[in-house]
Symmetry: C2
Subunit: 296 residues, 2 copies
């Protein structure tokens, strides 16, 4: 067997993403010889113990990170600063700190001021997930054929980038290096805005008069159903994403609202050409996605 | 075997919905002894012949409907008036005319003026579909456990309602009688607005600068991917739906836009409670849908 990428990987926050990493390590020891899990919620720690998906479960941050060559922060982006402050004093010299946050500028701003020079920080974002959350929701193939975007800072060493690249590729992901701001903009449109819209339309439906509302539930056709799938994702994670990438999200929402108003105008004035063209553009994008193999 | 519901059913427009009806009849002769397909596009007629999903394929409206006990208009709602005018003169006395349109007030307004007193018109809307269209897209279980909403007019006879109710129930659907205007309002929020939003967000993505746009395709995470599925539906059908249910759709879009702006404000001002509450409402709706067995 080749030398594993890491001797010891610690996952902080063994939820959907974190527990999937742990499960993958159990299955493929070329990633790490030893895995450690820690969560600030002892119930989560106990559940991870029961599931036997980590080699070791710690109930305090110090013992969780002190032997780790790599610490993965798989927690809501709003918790990154607090947890970084807790662990940095106990991390080994030369260890890698990485994260799985969906926003990068804010996470880097939260973590960098607390770093010591001997820690290599490699910001990353695996673009994978389901509408479920918690340690039971993970599975070892979650990252297969998904993108993991790596957004190095000016201080990230090439060695750190290489190791985290191999880490994610070994878990089945395709990796790419992206500029921090660019990452946040792309994710605002492909992921954050769709979630914001899905949450919103569920609320619009919920605020209808009682009679209509109960029927919305009865007759939810495929359109609404797909939206609610997106809308059932983890509240804390998404609250943090919205607040932490608010600039890019608000810009994309403004653009979307302009486009929606243009569509409303076309519908009101029965502008068939405009409506058809808009729909056809949507289909073309769908086709591109299929050609890019992002969908079955 | 019991007496079939109809001797001869003619499906006009053997696309996703129409060809699924034809396939179901082939499988279950208690629905109809004989099935006829007609489409204004001869290529579609020829394809239906090749697929062997109808007992008879006609290339003109007269021969298609003259023997039918029941004619099903499974065409875009914008084509209802024109096709009704073509077929009414040739329909048998006492035959049932029904449709599968997603908007009901506009379809009834398009069809009623052309009816003769000896034709029983039963407006209906099977709430089923996929993102695919055309005769190849149908399948005989499309309507199973889906709703079919029946919206009788003042002139619809109880016998007609009963027959069409049995027709859809035999194809596996659950049926319910709904007031016309109420139907259009409920569908505006559960189906039409989600489609409008999905088409729009694809356009917003498409109008980004070239560099970002190509990455949108690369990194489309599950949020955007689900939206494009909805957005790949048939353009003519949806253009017609938007225009024909424009009052209800514009009202729902206005409500949605208010809610989206309230969310934008909360994000800008970091109103964590408001954001979390909005997300949690979305999850509750999702949970209700699961309890209602509209989703797996």
């Amino acid at each position: 067997m080749n030398t594993p990428i890491f001797n010891c990987v610690t996952v902080i926050g063994p939820g959907l993403i974190g527990s999937s990493i742990l499960r993958r390590i159990k299955k493929d020891r070329s990633i790490a010889t030893h895995s450690v899990a820690y969560d600030s919620n002892p119930d989560v720690c106990n559940r991870v113990k029961e599931l036997q998906i980590a080699d070791e479960v710690c109930f305090d941050p110090k013992s969780a990170v002190e032997n780790a060559d790599c610490v993965v922060l798989a927690i809501p982006v709003g918790a990154m600063e607090e947890v970084t402050k807790q662990i940095i004093p106990y991390m080994k010299k030369g260890a890698i700190l990485t994260d799985t946050g969906s926003t990068k500028a804010s996470v880097i701003a939260a973590i960098e001021p607390h770093l010591t020079p001997d820690i290599i920080f490699v910001p990353a974002h695996p673009m994978a997930g389901t509408e479920f959350s918690g340690p039971d929701a993970g599975f070892d193939t979650l990252f297969e054929n998904r993108w993991c975007l790596i957004t190095p800072t000016a201080n990230t060493s090439q060695e750190g980038i290489n190791k985290i690249t191999t880490f994610w590729q070994t878990m089945g992901a395709n990796t790419r290096i992206l500029a921090i701001k660019h990452h946040d903009k792309v994710c605002a449109i492909v992921s954050h805005l769709p979630h914001l819209i899905a949450f919103t339309i569920c609320n619009t439906a919920d605020s209808l008069e009682e009679e209509t509302r109960s029927e919305v539930l009865d007759y939810a056709a495929s359109g609404f159903r797909d939206f609610t799938r997106v809308a059932s994702s983890d509240p804390t994670m998404w609250r943090d994403v919205f607040i932490n990438n608010r600039e890019a999200i608000l810009e994309m929402l403004a653009r979307f609202t302009e486009d929606a108003q243009a569509m409303a105008k076309a519908i009101r004035w029965k502008d068939e050409d405009y409506i058809t063209e808009t729909i056809q553009k949507g289909r073309r994008i769908r086709k591109s996605l299929i050609d890019n193999k992002q969908v079955q």
